[in-house]
């Protein structure tokens, strides 16, 4: 009976102040969507880093007039280096083949370059791709080396872009969360005011504190949960229309976002939404009802 009473009070409470309830749910939903999106970007960036860095190469280009001694000394040094997992030597002919493959659509360029114009090089796979800097410092000064080039520098710029996007989403999530929080506090105050007579009688006859507070706190929690369900809906829509739709051309560039990952954000959003609402409501009641 008491559970039934509490639940009916919650529904009545949400309905009594329905415009406020809707505002509360919408801000909560937007905030949680941003939070979920930010979380998804975060895991995707981590996935993509792994994906890209696995395939990343550092290239050491040799001087055009490199001597055999210099080359074999460098070869020995690369073999002995613990930071390098694999070093492949590419001679002028192979470099020319690669060049031809890469630019087979531009015959002008192909005819302008002769086989002996391309430098010899070593293609390195690093044990830890992020230690590129050490490799670069170590080998730029070695005799016979022209320059050390790392693809990860370009990638870093791309990832910085993603991280910036993630941060923007996170800041927006926090700003909306603050708005949602204030709306919850206000809604609870209004609800407490409209039930002030009941609350006064309940306090007088000795109803327990949790029994007085439960309908208000649950009211906020229900709004938070509805907000998180809408947030999930927004993320699903984002995946369908943005990721699988408009951005599908860039599929090879991004690590794919699976349905599993989208739905996994729901418990997080629901937990955060519910918890924030509950705590805000409870704190508001402590100030406002002094129960």
């Amino acid at each position: 009976m008491r559970m039934k009473y509490v639940m009916s009070e919650v529904l009545v409470g949400l309905w009594r102040n329905v415009t406020m309830t809707i505002a509360m749910i919408i801000t909560m939903a937007v905030s949680l969507t941003m939070l979920g999106a930010s979380g998804l970007i975060y895991t995707k960036v981590a996935d993509m880093k792994q994906l890209y860095f696995e395939n990343i190469e550092v290239s050491i280009f040799l001087d055009a007039d490199v001597t055999d001694e210099q080359r074999s000394a460098l070869d020995a040094q690369l073999d002995a280096d613990p930071l390098i997992s694999q070093a492949t030597y590419v001679n002028k002919d192979e470099a020319f083949q690669r060049f031809q493959e890469m630019f087979r659509d531009s015959p002008d360029l192909l005819s302008a370059v002769k086989a002996d114009q391309l430098p010899e090089s070593y293609r390195l796979k690093l044990v830890n791709p992020e230690e590129y800097k050490t490799i670069s410092d170590q080998y730029t000064a070695v005799e016979g080396v022209d320059q050390v080039v790392d693809q990860s520098q370009v990638l870093d710029k791309i990832f910085n872009l993603f991280t910036a996007g993630q941060n923007i989403a996170l800041v927006a999530a926090i700003a909306m969360a603050v708005a949602a929080l204030l709306l919850v506090a206000n809604t609870i105050q209004v609800a407490a005011y409209s039930k002030r007579r009941e609350v006064a009688v309940m306090k007088l006859v000795g109803a327990s504190n949790w029994f007085i507070q439960a309908p208000f706190v649950l009211e906020a929690v229900v709004a938070g949960l509805i907000g998180s369900i809408l947030g999930l809906g927004a993320l699903v829509a984002l995946k369908i229309f943005l990721f699988d739709g408009a951005l599908s051309a860039l599929q090879g560039l991004f690590a794919p976002v699976s349905w599993g990952e989208v739905f996994l954000t729901f418990p997080v959003m629901a937990g955060v939404g519910g918890l924030i609402s509950a705590v805000t409501a409870w704190v508001t009641l402590r100030f406002y009802l002094r129960v």
């Binding site: 007579r197 007088l204 029994f211």
Partner: protein
């Protein structure tokens, strides 16, 4: 049943204490009037017995429990042994007489079945048999106060506190309410009543404690208003 031991209470920013070294002892089953001018400290005593304010000095013991040191989370349970009636009735306007009384039971965890058994009984006791389903605005002032008394008494409290219960009622109705409180007192319930109504005090001839500027100036068994 109720002990105030050298109780002093000064509200923040007040120039003089509301209660100044007050000691009172009230036994089980007594009927006590607190009288005195407005601002003399009568209401502070009621609030103290309800654990709404705590004294700065001294000790307050109600039903064998030291209210002075009681933690606030124990307050709800403590209140269940005290019934309360006020000048302004404090009924819920959107609930019938029956529902008002039942509400008080249900919010402390009693089942609807218990309410169905107990509420008609207590409404009968206060003389509202047949008016269970009227809303407060359909009842006279005296009848509303009867509902309030029924609500205060439905839990069979050991103590009934009444803060000017006749303040809004005409003399005849007041006397009916007093008869009701007297009947409740005869069931063994201790009744503590704060009042300005000299008529009632003189008719009842019960213990009278007069307070002035926070001090007890008279404590008389079978007293009059003065």
């Amino acid at each position: 049943m109720i002990q105030l031991e050298q109780v002093t209470k000064t509200y923040p920013k007040a120039s003089r204490p509301s209660l100044d070294n007050v000691s009172v002892s009230i036994d089980k089953g007594e009927f006590v009037f607190f009288i005195g001018p407005s601002g003399s400290g009568k209401s502070t005593i009621i609030k103290m017995l309800l654990h709404e304010v705590t004294p700065n000095k001294g000790r307050v013991v109600v039903n064998g429990k030291d209210v002075t040191s009681m933690r606030s989370w124990k307050r709800p349970h403590f209140r269940r042994s005290i019934g309360c009636v006020f000048q302004d009735f404090r009924l819920l306007p959107n609930r019938t007489a029956y529902e008002n009384v039942a509400f008080a039971l249900e919010v402390i965890g009693k089942t609807k079945a218990v309410a169905r058994r107990v509420v008609p009984e207590v409404l009968e006791l206060v003389g509202l048999g047949g008016k269970e389903h009227r809303y407060p605005h359909e009842l006279s002032g005296g009848e509303q106060q009867r509902v309030a008394v029924a609500r205060a008494f439905v839990n069979r409290p050991l103590i009934l506190l009444a803060d000017e219960p006749t303040g809004n009622l005409d003399p005849d109705t007041s006397i009916e309410i007093m008869r009701l409180l007297d009947r409740i007192n005869r069931t063994g319930t201790t009744v503590v009543m704060v009042t300005h109504d000299s008529n009632i005090v003189n008719q009842m001839r019960r213990r009278v404690i007069e307070i002035e500027s926070g001090r007890i100036v008279r404590d008389q068994a079978r007293g009059v208003y003065g």
